[in-house]
């Protein structure tokens, strides 16, 4: 990204409507508060309080809760074990130094692999190191636990009270965005199939965007699950909805393998218009579902992909009976069947997704009204 673009991007975010701006403001206030608290309490390691706040702050409340929990648990576990080791070994000897080096290595290894493990080993290593430097270094292990609890508490407090951003509130837009990206991928695949020409870069770009979008969706689901206020039924609906979105993605990946085998030939001419009609209907169904996920009411009729498929199959029967498909190679015909199978499976999953979204929305409305009552 060029400097000019970066500045423009940052300027766009400088508004209270921007989630990034709110997150930065929340983190800034929490960290300053932690620093003041640490100084007023006369803590010898103010830095630990600050770091605890910075590392647990996440854009959503659920995310902060998850990282806060891991940070506190990991620190307590690592520091307690290290205190025991320091007291038992008197923090001396070659073996102790070796243990410190191995523990440091493990910390760095886990940094990329496992957050809770990383935090645990980090505290273990820090307390071992302090045990060597200071005669009563193990006491700093206890201090580290208290400092982390203080920092974690301040971070969580900020997440709860300063513009609390409940992950559950962002679910609608994330699901809508995932459905939109899935729809875009479906559209590209459909167009490629109809044109008999594949543009791999376009497909790969859409696939990556969809994959990232689904990851974001999964993340927000798990963050929402960490927050209080989501019923068990709501959690189940979200987990099943996540599975449906994954299945749609898998289906489109599988459809991609079919589309890539079109080898310069589009669908048989006698079926071109019908196939176009079918793909457009499914595309509209994706768009309708996207709007529905964003919160639109069921006032407009949902485009009926299943009915369009049934019409398509009727049309194929007529075309086949007329012998119009005879001139096409077996490979070409089997490819069409495989493509239609995938459209059929996509339509089925869209139906499942719709039922789950409906159930999730109904459950949420009930929760909201009982909360207001």
């Amino acid at each position: 990204m060029r400097m000019k673009d970066a500045v423009l991007r940052l300027r766009r975010e400088l508004t209270t409507a921007s989630p990034a701006f709110r997150h930065a403001l929340r983190a800034g206030l929490a960290t300053s508060a932690a620093f003041i608290a640490a100084r007023m309490l006369g803590l010898s390691h103010e830095m630990w309080v600050i770091v605890s706040v910075v590392v647990i702050m996440r854009p959503s409340l659920g995310g902060t809760l998850r990282f806060g929990r891991d940070r506190v648990l990991g620190t307590i576990a690592g520091a307690l074990v290290a205190i025991a080791v320091v007291l038992l070994t008197k923090a001396s000897g070659v073996w102790f130094v070796l243990l410190l080096v191995v523990s440091f290595f493990t910390t760095l290894f886990l940094h990329v692999v496992h957050y809770l493990g990383f935090v645990t080993f980090l505290s273990f290593t820090v307390v071992l190191g302090l045990g060597i430097v200071f005669p009563e270094g193990w006491k700093l292990g206890v201090e580290r636990i208290w400092d982390t609890l203080l920092g974690g508490g301040i971070g969580l407090g900020a997440a709860f009270f300063i513009w609390p951003n409940r992950a559950a509130k962002g679910i609608d837009s994330r699901v809508a965005s995932s459905l939109n990206d899935l729809g875009a991928l479906f559209r590209i695949l459909g167009k490629s199939y109809q044109a008999g020409e594949v543009r791999p870069e376009e497909i790969v770009a859409a696939r990556r965007k969809t994959y990232d979008s689904l990851n974001g969706c999964r993340e927000i689901f798990s963050e929402a699950a960490a927050e209080a206020g989501l019923s068990r039924a709501g959690r189940n609906d979200l987990s099943r909805l996540s599975a449906v979105l994954d299945k749609l993605y898998d289906l489109l990946m599988s459809m991609d393998t079919v589309v890539r085998r079109v080898s310069g030939e589009g669908p048989p001419e006698s079926l071109g218009n019908d196939l176009h009609q079918l793909l457009e209907t499914v595309d509209l169904e994706f768009a309708w579902m996207t709007d529905y996920a964003r919160g639109r009411k069921e006032e407009t009729t949902r485009p009926n992909g299943a009915a369009a498929l049934a019409e398509m199959f009727d049309r194929i029967r007529i075309v086949r009976a007329r012998g119009d498909l005879e001139g096409h190679s077996m490979e070409h015909r089997t490819n069409l069947s495989a493509f239609l199978y995938h459209v059929y499976a996509v339509v089925q999953e869209l139906e499942n997704g719709f039922e789950l979204l409906k159930s999730y929305r109904a459950g949420r409305t009930e929760e909201d009204s009982s909360f207001q009552a």
Partner: protein, 364 residues
């Protein structure tokens, strides 16, 4: 002891870090901190922490898709931190001023995160170096000396990270490729094993593992400054071509898992299902053999024979004429068609994979 170490390696290290990419970086980070500690030795003890912490920050801020971007991130972290450290030292003397300064610093770092992951990661480590300084207030002269320590510690870490112990892309990618093929083979085995007894949780678990393995191959390429999509058009590029085959094989298995339980209750399709199961067994053996080929202890498998078996299945399915027997049978036919087609794609990709592995072996 050796047996325990081997088991530990096979079960824990190899699946996560087949090319020792993460381990190597962790080792380098330990070395960088030790080197910074040695460099700091002749200087007064009060600066040691800044030498070592700066080195640690540079090693931890490893982010960026390409080698060049990671170098830029590393340099930005230690030079940016060095520029701010004198100011942080002085400001730290007043609690009020320090709190306001910290607020703006944290705000800027968190907001800048929207520019990309490398900015977010680098920014946080730059922030930590300054927070450390802020918590140890000192006059400007000490702040300037600390800035020097940060610069030297960062430069030592930079040298260790980017100049020492260079990686060998071929070897690391081959290891990543072996793990990816093994994971894909296991995914395939679980998918086909769940034809009769569906276990969606197990399928999801191994699917995610296979996906991570394939992505790891890609990330490793990117980390070495190689373009994973270079072979997209021509597939001439050996490494990126192999990556694309891995992706397609993964998609092939996904397709198979979506379609595998076709026409489960239909007597009309019983014969086809039996033949399908036989072909799947054969494909499973091919997969295992391919993973072995990368380890140089497997034998070349007859993929062409497998392709012929799938064609036989395809013909058998067409001979049933199910498409014309009404809606119910047509639906079962479509399901069966999806499965056979998925198998056909998969076998074609296995053939390509064998070709790439052959090239890979001849190059090693």
């Amino acid at each position: 002891m050796a047996a325990i170490m081997e088991r530990f390696y096979t079960a824990i290290v190899h699946p996560v870090d087949p090319g020792f990419f993460i381990s190597r970086h962790a080792g380098k980070a330990v070395l960088a901190c030790l080197a910074a500690l040695i460099v700091a030795w002749p200087f007064p003890r009060e600066y040691t922490l800044w030498f070592v912490f700066s080195a640690f920050a540079v090693m931890m801020s490893r982010s960026g898709e390409t080698f060049h971007r990671r170098k830029v991130t590393a340099v930005t972290v230690f030079t940016g931190a060095a520029l701010l450290v004198p100011f942080s030292s002085v400001v730290g003397q007043s609690t009020f001023a320090a709190a306001i300064y910290l607020f703006f610093l944290v705000f800027a770092v968190f907001l800048a995160g929207v520019l990309g992951r490398h900015v977010a990661v680098g920014g946080v480590w730059l922030l930590f170096v300054n927070a450390l300084t802020l918590c140890s207030p000192a006059p400007l002269s000490t702040g300037l000396a600390r800035a020097g320590a940060v610069l030297v510690g960062g430069a030592v870490a930079y040298a260790v990270n980017f100049r020492l112990w260079p990686v060998r892309p071929g070897r690391i990618l081959r290891d990543c490729g072996t793990v990816a093929v093994r994971d894909l083979a296991e995914y395939f085995a679980v998918v086909t094993g769940s034809f009769e007894n569906p276990d969606s949780a197990a399928v999801d678990r191994v699917r995610d593992r296979a996906r991570i393995s394939v992505r790891r191959y890609r990330r490793t390429m990117e980390a070495m400054g190689l373009d994973p999509l270079a072979g997209m058009q021509t597939e001439d590029d050996r490494m990126s071509g192999f990556y694309l085959v891995l992706v397609r094989v993964f998609k092939g298995v996904v397709a198979l898992s979506r379609n595998s339980r076709f026409a489960a209750r239909s007597p009309l399709f019983r014969g086809i299902r039996k033949e399908f199961a036989g072909t799947v067994d054969e494909a499973g053996r091919t997969f295992t053999s391919l993973a072995g080929l990368l380890d140089s202890d497997g034998k070349v498998f007859d993929v062409a024979g497998l392709a012929r078996a799938v064609e036989g299945l395809e013909q058998g399915l067409l001979n049933l004429g199910a498409y014309q027997r009404g809606e119910g049978v047509r639906q079962e036919f479509l399901e069966a068609w999806g499965a056979v087609y998925a198998m056909k794609n998969l076998v074609a990709e296995l053939g390509r994979m064998q070709g790439y592995i052959g090239k890979e072996r001849s190059c090693v």
